[in-house]
Assembly symmetry: C2
């Protein structure tokens, strides 16, 4: 078994760690999958933005840069970490609002083209907001939800999806990486199964974007959403993003028809005409400051490359599993043991984990707790060292004693 | 006629001007009603937030402050500039998303309680995004729009509203200050007329919040929305806000049911149960950085007091009208001459104004242009001096020659 020191010395991405605020402190941060650390450059960039761009260019900033920022930043996200060509991704809103807009766009489209398809397929361990949005849309559009029962330590398998999709399925809503177990879904295979049944698919990438390889175009995905505050380190509540495959953009419309999704926002005339392309999925005035805060991290992700990031992510989670196996015999792994089926975090199960988490927080070791009995260890690849993992697992062992 | 120097010398709020980035420059900023200047303190506060709060507290920030920020900031907005008691206002999302959520909440409620009311009343010069959202909701909910025809240099009068509301009216959607003409609607009287007809009212406060006195509670308003990037200087695309009168909160539900509007967001169980009170109108993870950027301005508004701000606003727009009357004989005033019916901007009409605006921008005089032929002069009370108004109107006169 390699030591943390050996692993850090051999890590080609180790030098990125110093680019983050507070990474050199003694605090062990096991929650980079809930809220990533700020990149050190971000504070300065925000200051420059306020003083020079907002303060200096004032309203002219809209013409000069901001109007296009939702889609230029979307294209950056697409190129750097979504495996998507330009023109299909836009930043803005929250993940929840994107889920509402894109689920509605999908089911309203199917209602026009194939009205017998009246089911939304979703799994019981899908992230709560996805389930709540789907529940609301099903109620308001007269659809029903078809649930895939999922174990909280696993995720949706191709076999499970095959069993429930069919000629009644309008839309399948899945998480790429499960928020509790870190189950990494077989996205290309699940997308194919949904398509073979004639359904559309929406992928939630919140727990995978920036940590796991995503190939939306190659997988032939229809719709996707994700947030930027986890592995994309955009800050608390930073703008989310939505992806709509180019082949669907002209057929779909979304319900929150605001001026920024209009074909000509400054015409300000009567009647809404949706813009061409991805812009029709934008609604209101986009949150520019939040977009500025995302950029420094996106640049680091591009420099490191998503393949190298994923390789380090696998090494970090594997090391955490190895240490937990050795030091925490009373604990169960509530994440896939196979790294090919595991995203960027590891969940350890024990009935006392709520109490253990509280104790760890008092000692500046910061994992997350998720019912039932899950200690969730999120390992953000660019800001986490193997030494941090070792110190953290040792602290868990001590807290459990 | 007083000189600009006299007026600035007598202005009790003059000292606030130095608190804004760039206000001392030679640039004439006549667009503070589209995007307010940054408060000088904002860059530093954002830096501190990134380094210490986000970077230092990390995920713990949610428990410590951020979960409540949408409603504590909402309460600050309510107290400082909306005339509303605590517990009725939340910050977040864009104005467009708030319009969608609150219009849907209103018409869905009326559909349950009074299904014969199938009309949304709205005026032809309402801000485009309000009209587009209303149009979309009418189409999806099987309602119809009843238009009040409004002159682009005026706004909705009590007589006009009285003519169209009745037993078919579900909801009336009005702008407090019209984006083109600056018409300041008689909000208490219009609200009363709508209520007498048995309808709900939604006020869009985008062009009034922070510049004009608003008394949502005293006027018995049902619903309101507004943005924070105009007279509240929150920055491009800063978070919007929504107000729902306490008496309606438990009866209304909104369609974008996300985890942050759930009665217990971290329960993460099956089934959506809306939170009590204003929180049920929140959807996704709130944009914290954008909320931090709004706070410095809100403090200045509180220090100055909204009555004093409104008094200066009236003095600024009156001075602009006076100068335009004298120096621009070929121009028509496309705003109310009576300051009691005028918000914080003044629109001057001439067929050549598009060209004049372009010429002014080249000379660092920054008004806005709005069809048809409107040069819009927005005078943000705390950051604009009378001298700036004088220099700007002189530049308009020169550009027109």
């Amino acid at each position: 078994m390699s030591t943390a020191t050996d692993l850090d010395a051999a890590d080609p991405l180790a030098h990125f760690r110093e680019r983050f605020v507070g990474a050199a402190s003694d605090l062990v941060y096991f929650d980079g999958n809930s809220l990533g650390r700020p990149v050190a450059a971000t504070a300065g960039r925000l200051g420059t933005f306020v003083e020079q761009e907002w303060g200096g260019r004032l309203i002219r900033g809209w013409d000069e840069r901001w109007m296009d920022l939702p889609t230029t930043l979307g294209d950056d996200l697409a190129r750097i970490c979504l495996g998507a060509a330009a023109g299909q991704t836009a930043a803005g809103d929250s993940t929840t609002v994107w889920l509402y807009k894109l689920m509605r766009a999908a089911v309203d489209h199917v209602a026009r083209t194939d009205p017998d398809r009246t089911e939304i397929v979703i799994d019981t361990d899908n992230f709560p907001t996805d389930r709540y949005v789907a529940e609301g849309i099903a109620a308001e559009r007269g659809l029903s939800l078809r649930w895939i029962e999922v174990d909280t330590s696993a995720g949706v398998t191709p076999e499970q999806l095959r069993e429930v999709v069919g000629e009644r399925t309008a839309l399948v809503v899945l998480n790429h990486v499960a928020y509790r177990s870190a189950w990494l879904a077989d996205a290309p295979e699940l997308t194919r199964i949904a398509h073979d049944a004639g359904a559309l698919v929406l992928w939630d990438l919140c727990h995978s974007a920036g940590a796991v390889e995503v190939e939306l175009d190659a997988w032939d995905v229809d719709l996707a959403v994700g947030c930027s505050y986890k592995y994309l380190n955009g800050g608390p509540g930073s703008p989310a993003f939505g992806y709509v495959a180019e082949r669907l953009q002209d057929e779909l419309t979304q319900p929150i028809q605001g001026w920024m999704g209009h074909a000509d926002p400054f015409l300000m005339g009567p009647g809404y005409t949706p813009a061409a392309g991805i812009r029709r999925f934008i609604s209101g005035t986009p949150p520019i400051l939040g977009m500025v805060a995302m950029q420094a991290m996106l640049e680091l992700v591009e420099q490191a490359g998503i393949e190298a990031i994923r390789a380090k992510s696998v090494a970090l989670t594997s090391y955490a599993v190895e240490l937990a196996d050795a030091a925490l015999p009373e604990v169960t792994l509530a994440s896939p043991r196979d790294p090919a089926r595991r995203g960027g975090h590891v969940t350890l199960h024990h009935d006392r984990m709520r109490e253990v988490t509280a104790r760890l927080w008092q000692r500046d070791v910061i994992p997350d707790y998720r019912d039932p009995g899950g200690l969730r260890i999120g390992l953000s690849p660019l800001s986490t060292s193997f030494d941090e993992v070792e110190r953290g697992i040792a602290a868990v062992a001590e807290a459990m004693r």
